[in-house]
């Protein structure tokens, strides 16, 4: 397996063929923000928060889906990149109806944390205020599309780890929604195993356990993610 040397923010680092910029950065203690990236499932470059500059390339690249190459010079942090990431975060907020104060994930939310990390104190972009549904037909869980940022972690974990592929995506553009089976209510899904992995990996309060009050999100406390990683490695995902 080839080993490549490259620089990230001027720091000399090395990684193997096939590794992404995000993985090599993580191994070297360089924090690149991301909301769709999750160790153990495939990356898909959905949220664009991890955009970096690569010397010689006119385009920004998503660190989670860009493989390293010999001699690559990566800029992961700059004033311009912070501004892009701030705008991306703002767009994630404005596309749906995020109300931190009354959200089940208040203070357990990666989107909320990201806004604080970016120093976002208000939003200048226009708010879309879409009509978005809540599907509470499942006996244990519910999805509130008002809080979904389309990171598609639920889709990937359901497919790659649970093997059920209950979740997928429907419609396009601003109308894009995650869906269960072919758009039938979650509670009627014949493929859902009620394992709850989608709820555990959701970075916001979009997917949640029923019966939990505001700010009681307690996600990521269950120790199934290490197991998930092992399974992913065994299956060569």
């Amino acid at each position: 397996m080839s080993v490549y040397t490259l620089t990230i923010d001027g720091k000399d680092v090395a990684g193997s063929d096939g590794q992404t910029i995000m993985e090599v950065a993580e191994e070297n203690g360089i924090d690149i923000p991301g909301l769709c990236h999750l160790e153990g499932i495939h990356d898909r470059g959905a949220c664009r928060l991890c955009v970096v500059e690569i010397a010689g390339s006119p385009k920004l690249a998503a660190a989670c889906v860009t493989q390293i190459a010999e001699g690559m010079e990566v800029t992961a942090h700059s004033d311009a990149l912070l501004e892009y990431r701030r705008t991306i975060t703002e767009m994630l907020f404005m596309e749906r109806n995020h109300v931190c104060a009354v959200c089940v994930a208040n203070n357990h939310c990666e989107l909320q944390d990201t806004a604080e990390d970016m120093g976002l104190t208000h939003f200048d972009l226009p708010r879309i205020s879409p009509k978005a549904d809540i599907d509470a037909s499942h006996p244990l869980f519910a999805i509130d599309h008002n809080r979904c940022i389309l990171c598609l972690r639920c889709v990937r974990v359901c497919d790659e780890i649970e093997g059920a592929h209950t979740w997928d995506v429907m419609h396009r553009g601003l109308d894009t929604r995650v869906q269960t089976d072919m758009g039938i209510p979650w509670g009627e899904s014949p493929t859902c195993t009620s394992c709850g992995k989608c709820v555990q990996v959701c970075p916001t309060g979009a997917l949640f356990e029923k019966g939990r009050a505001v700010a009681r999100g307690s996600k990521r406390r269950r120790p199934f993610l290490p197991w998930m990683k092992v399974v992913a490695e065994e299956r060569g995902l």
């Binding site: 931190c100 104060a101 959200c103 208040n106 909320q112 120093g119 104190t121 208000h122 009509k131």
Partner: protein, 183 residues
């Protein structure tokens, strides 16, 4: 408040309560004994916590709680802006429209029908007399007037309010370190 002869005029602080729950004002009260220190250095000239009927001229710092949801809110925030040097969007409703803004995808008429017609058994009617009409959507303060300082939080923690007031009264530019939506 009268001043001793020859003393420099003290900064004039006001607070305003638009479409919010008053929780941000409660958090302001949570400054506890630090309120005494702040109002040693400044005068509180208007707001729900003082008995003054008219928003005065020449206010140095005004904390605005709440979103702009009705025609009265809009009228008031424009007047406040004209008479205030440093206007602070105080808390999530002022900053993002927060909970009042949850009605935005619904629309005013369906909202009114739901609240006053559909669920009412005795003489259902939408109240109109003596009540300011709602704007089509509830919006953050900075959609209508310039805002100098944003302090998010639901409510902002008393420590953050203290730091901000201390900065403003000391002539420093406040930063929002530690402030976040929700909380």
């Amino acid at each position: 408040m009268s001043m001793p002869d020859g003393a420099a005029p003290r900064p004039r602080v006001a607070t305003v309560w638009l479409d919010g729950c008053s929780g941000c004002h409660m958090s302001l009260i949570d400054l506890d004994e630090r309120l005494l220190e702040i109002f040693e250095r400044a005068d509180l000239v208007y707001g729900p916590l003082v008995d003054v009927k008219e928003f005065p001229e020449d206010v140095d710092v005004c904390l605005v709680e709440g979103a702009v949801s009705s025609e009265e809110d809009l009228h008031r925030i424009r007047m406040v802006r004209e008479r205030t040097k440093m206007l602070v969007a105080f808390g999530d409703c002022a900053v993002t429209s927060n909970v009042p803004g949850m009605r935005n995808p619904i629309g005013v008429q369906p909202l009114m029908d739901r609240a006053y017609i559909e669920n009412v058994t005795l003489a259902p009617q939408v109240p109109t007399r003596g009540i300011p009409p709602l704007l089509p959507t509830s919006q953050p303060v900075h959609k209508f007037v310039d805002v100098d300082v944003f302090l998010p939080g639901c409510p902002p923690h008393a420590d953050l309010i203290y730091t901000m007031l201390d900065d403003l009264l000391s002539g420093r530019v406040p930063d929002a370190a530690g402030a976040r939506f929700g909380r």
